[in-house]
Amino acid sequence: MSLDWTRTHDAPDIHLEDIQVGYGDLSVLKNITATMPGGKISVILGGSGGGKSTLLKAILGLLPPTSGHVWLGDSNLYALADTELREIRKRMGVLFQDGALLGSLPLSENIALPIREHTSLDEETIETVVSLKLSLVGLAAFTEFFPSQLSGGMRKRAGLARALALDPRILLCDEPTSGLDPITAADLDQMILDLKEAFGMTILVVSHDLESVFTIADHVVVLNKGSAVYQGGPDELRNSTDPFLNQFLHRRPNRNGHEHA
């Protein structure tokens, strides 16, 4: 199994090969084949219950597909040995919906945790890296704060700082702008764009925030009822004549027997 991309500065493609994912007998994702190009921002768009978070879990290695493969660059995620998966995870950063910071640790320790686990850096260097990452997301003054003392937006930014702790080549974000006021949401979008510009990493964002999608996306995958109903650029998506996409993009309610949401 090749792990070449984990040893270079390459930003790998994320490729889903005919995957089906479910919980028990319930199939949530059906026969999805998609490629999220390396070095670009891809957005998985879809309504609530459409399978976005399930797809993200499958890409994170937390929910094995019942069939099909998840490829990160040339690595088949679910065929990797534990040590190889560990190597891959060092090169992946994940921003969870509410940050998923460890509530028992202050911000500085939260960011330091993956660094301590995966490197042999001395305490002084770790401290420097932590304050660098927190400065990057504008939280340098909050190093000793606990997650519960921060606002939702700050927790997300702190989650982003932790996701960036090991300079990942793939960044995955679960609903980064949900629950945020428009200004904070726009800040976070800008931050994601800046990260792509500065580090050229592969970024995958799961979202249902249309404004955010059209601001940041280079590539969009739209899910509906567990199937990929659109893959392509944001401009083509805007001009699509597909009834579901039209309804979704123009926020039209279900009427006349349509059952799309």
Binding site: K90, M92, F96, D98
Partner: protein
């Protein structure tokens, strides 16, 4: 039920994996383990001491009522000693730990599970079992027997002080009677029991925490199940070990 059993097997498998690697390779893991030592051990001392002392006095009172009828009041020491050291010291300590530590383990892990903190640990490449469960196991396996030993000491001491001050027994006589009657074998069987109790409480507590799925209600539900199951298994294990001691007497 099948998926709950599968989760338990997964947990045991991961813990066995921890045995193959250094216990506390990284400094932050050492700190994590020390934190649990202090929390499970030192912080439990006041409640364990209080309950063991009261139990020692209760046993002395109960024994005195019966033994004075046959003029064998000096045997209060034997009865208090054997009851505390062989049975009640380890058992009461385990019950306290299941309510105090076991419930807290479940609530902590269940909350972390629901708020995706455990997923976050896994995707950061940290083994969530090594980070969260292993330090609790190490702390409980070491602290449970030590606390039981302390409960034995305080229970017997309190029973002794009470017997001397209220029942009028001589301090020297009580001491002699206790030391001559209690053997190392009795003490050791109690400590082995409490080690098993500690392990059972941790495994059940962490397992129930990992099973949490549906929000705050499930945290409460899992915590209750953890305490009830711990008490059930503590009593079963007690029966097993006591039978074993009886057979091999």
């Amino acid at each position: 039920m099948a998926s709950e059993s599968a989760q338990f097997i997964w947990l045991i498998n991961r813990l066995l994996g921890c045995l193959r690697r250094p216990i506390t390779g990284k400094p932050y893991m050492r700190w994590q383990t020390w934190r649990h030592f202090a929390w499970v051990g030192a912080d439990s001392l006041p409640i364990v001491s209080t309950i063991a002392s009261c139990t020692g006095i209760i046993l002395a009172l109960q024994a005195a009522q019966q033994l004075e009828k046959v003029g064998a009041l000096s045997y209060v020491a034997n009865l208090v000693g054997i009851s505390i050291v062989a049975e009640l010291g380890p058992l009461l300590t385990a019950l306290i730990l299941s309510g105090r530590a076991g419930a807290a383990f479940t609530a902590e892990i269940a909350t972390m599970k629901i708020s995706e903190e455990i997923d976050a640990l896994e995707v950061m490449g940290l083994d969530s079992v090594r980070y969260l469960v292993w330090p609790k196991c190490v702390a409980m396996v070491l602290m449970s027997p030590l606390l039981a030993l302390w409960a034995d000491f305080t229970g017997v001491l309190a029973g002794g002080i009470f017997s001397v001050m209220v029942l009028g027994l001589s301090a020297h006589g009580y001491y002699e009677q206790t030391v001559n009657f209690l053997t190392l074998r009795i003490l050791f069987s109690g400590l082995v029991k409490s080690l098993a109790f500690g392990l059972a409480i941790t495994l059940i507590g962490c397992w129930q925490g990992l099973l949490a799925r549906d929000g705050a209600l499930d945290v409460g539900h899992r915590t209750t199940r953890s305490v009830v199951q711990s008490i059930f298994f503590i009593v079963l294990l007690d029966l097993f070990f006591t039978t074993l001691t009886f057979i091999s007497r």
